[in-house]
Point group: C2
Chain length 351, copies 2
DNA sequence: CGAATATTCGCAATCGATTACCCCCGATTT
DNA sequence: AAATCGGGGGTAATCGATTGCGAATATTCG
């Protein structure tokens, strides 16, 4: 097709391709006259550097890979957006892979990315990942790796997460301040650090405020609305049902709210509820939902910067663990201050 | 690093690299014994084909680019998901670019992608794009291009869209059947075909059902919640306010619902409302919102298949315009049948 | 058994760009 | 005037894989 190479330029000017290459790269060995001549003709001929040839020669593809469970989850797509926006000005392109929370697919995708010689990999590990040999392979190949949100503790790997422990602690503390005495917890899969940390934050808050802990108040859920419905149903049948719920997921929190409303139990008067993730729907439910903002775009941008630092450090492996502060968004589902007279018409963020 | 090339294999076996290459590619010129020997040692040595070298030689990068305004909008991220899932089994990787609805950024990104020698480009054109010379350049280079959702009418370019006209028509027809007589329209930017088509569908439905049309009932909006609030406020001040609203955006529809509820006007009893896009929050609002499902994942998969067909067609340029049927999701914001006794506890899709 | 035909494989060019190494020539030095 | 120096630029190898053109060996046939 339309491809102009440095050879075309060299022929036209009767000089060698090496000279053209040097001129284009501002190599001081080339006289100013020659360089400008080359630059001018290159522009005239619409020359464009062949990325692939460069990548083959240099071993740098100027491309990074991002691995997420599903890319249409708002949290992940926002993180990706953050990464893309931070990396674009630096000339990096971004390849997306979905693991569907399947460990095997994760391994496969990692291999594909390594084979495509990406200059770095960003990933949120799949729920089912146990073995980490594929991750070791990344390190062996010297490809910078950054975990975000869901990480594994592997030395040599940087990570960017939010402080899940504090987020949970803040949430529960907030519920306590609203007067809740019997706080239940919708708990995630403890295999993942994030859910473990949230669970521990919950425990610590109870302890610090001298609230009783009961196994009965901890229900394992799976991030779906119906799971929350089932969980709350079970809780409300207890002899002493909870008056506050801290959920690790907005979806289950929603399921709980829906069930309670349907059962004539008032939120937040009878039961306060807080979710996790700041899914976009949380600001539109009734009552609007208290939740934790994980600042995903910021998380993406931060991850990108960690990567760039690693790249610039050249040989030295820097292991950086960034923990971002979570943001507690207090909304009506847990706000007992004056829920009665307040028109429920706020917390609306324009899109 | 750890790189095993065909030369390493050839040295180990005392044969030429050409033979190795042929063996790996099942070239019939190679004896079965040799081939199996090569395959075996390649496996033993953990050989992996160098994608970049192959790409340079063949001119095919096995990579496609996707251009969207913002990748964290649920519609777009779902389309991307669809494309990725359909293309992954075929060995294509997916590069994401964001235009931020900026024409200039769109041009820049197209150039980057062409320069990276992608094998195809998927795009939803930016709102501000007027000039299309960058798109022509894609065609000149012979790179398959597929528009999705937001397209331009350019010959030689395939597109996958939903039938916006019908979607609008269905929505308005539905409102009419619910008894609405004075139906207003929240109208989008007519520069984009999709909004134009929706407007025309609205007009046609009014005409077919002999309902009066009035300029006063058409309000220009911009897809933000506040824009919907302002629009409905203006409408309700008319001497004869509407009793039905068809909005091109879920966000503005939400703004309208919120304003009406706050003003003591009942939805759907007094005013029926329908939105557009099936944003995830629409199933959780109160009342739940009637809207149009654009089947984004399907749109993505379909786009991917159109691309694959083009690739397989080799030289011939096939121009395929796929129009997917939209799906009207009737929910409480427009359902007057028995809104009174129905517990508002449905339309909940698990996540 | 010699020639014709197949079979199997090697040589070297190619895809573009980069770069180590070497060379040429004018200018300065002694 | 011979020796030295350095600016400017060319030669060719290299990154890995593919492939047209032959060439060498093996097989078949008359």
């Amino acid at each position: 097709m339309n491809k102009v190479t440095i050879y075309d330029i060299s022929k036209k000017l009767n000089i060698s391709a090496a000279t053209v290459s040097r001129a284009l790269n501002n190599n001081p060995k080339i006289s100013i006259k020659t360089r400008e001549l080359v630059l001018r003709t290159a522009a005239e001929m619409n020359y464009e550097q062949n990325t692939l040839a460069l990548a083959l020669k240099s071993g740098k593809s100027h491309t990074v890979g991002i691995l997420v469970p599903y890319m249409d989850r708002s949290f992940f797509s926002s993180v990706i957006r953050g990464i893309e926006e931070e990396l674009y000005p630096h000339g990096y392109r971004v390849i997306i892979c979905q693991t569907r929370d399947d460990a095997q697919s994760e391994v496969q995708n990692i291999n594909t990315l390594l084979n495509a010689q990406v200059d770095g990999i960003f990933m949120s590990v799949s729920k089912t990942t146990k073995d980490t040999s594929h991750i070791d392979r990344v390190l062996q190949k010297g490809v910078p790796l950054v975990f975000f949100d869901r990480k594994k503790n592997i030395k040599g790997v940087s990570s960017v997460t939010i402080d899940d422990f504090s987020a949970a602690y803040m949430s529960v503390e907030h519920l306590i301040r609203q007067g809740c005495k019997r706080i239940a917890h919708f708990k995630g899969d403890i295999h993942l650090e994030i859910y473990k940390d949230r669970y521990e934050g919950y425990l610590k808050a109870l302890e610090d405020y001298n609230l009783p802990f009961s196994e009965d108040y901890v229900v394992q859920i799976n991030s779906k609305v119906v799971s929350g419905t089932a969980a709350v149903k079970k809780l409300m049948q207890l002899p002493s049902p909870p008056d506050g719920i801290f959920s690790v997921s907005d979806f289950t929190a929603l399921g709980a709210i829906q069930y309670l409303k349907k059962s004539g139990i008032r939120v937040p008067e009878d039961v306060c509820i807080s979710g996790f993730s700041n899914e976009s729907f949380t600001q539109y439910t009734e009552p609007t939902m208290t939740t934790i903002d994980q600042t995903p775009i910021k998380m993406g941008k931060t991850s990108a910067r960690v990567f760039l630092e690693q790249i610039e450090a050249e040989t030295v492996v820097i292991e950086k663990k960034v923990v971002l502060p979570p943001q507690l968004l207090i909304r009506d589902s847990s706000d007992r201050r004056n829920h009665r007279d307040t028109p429920r018409f706020h917390g609306i963020k324009s899109f």
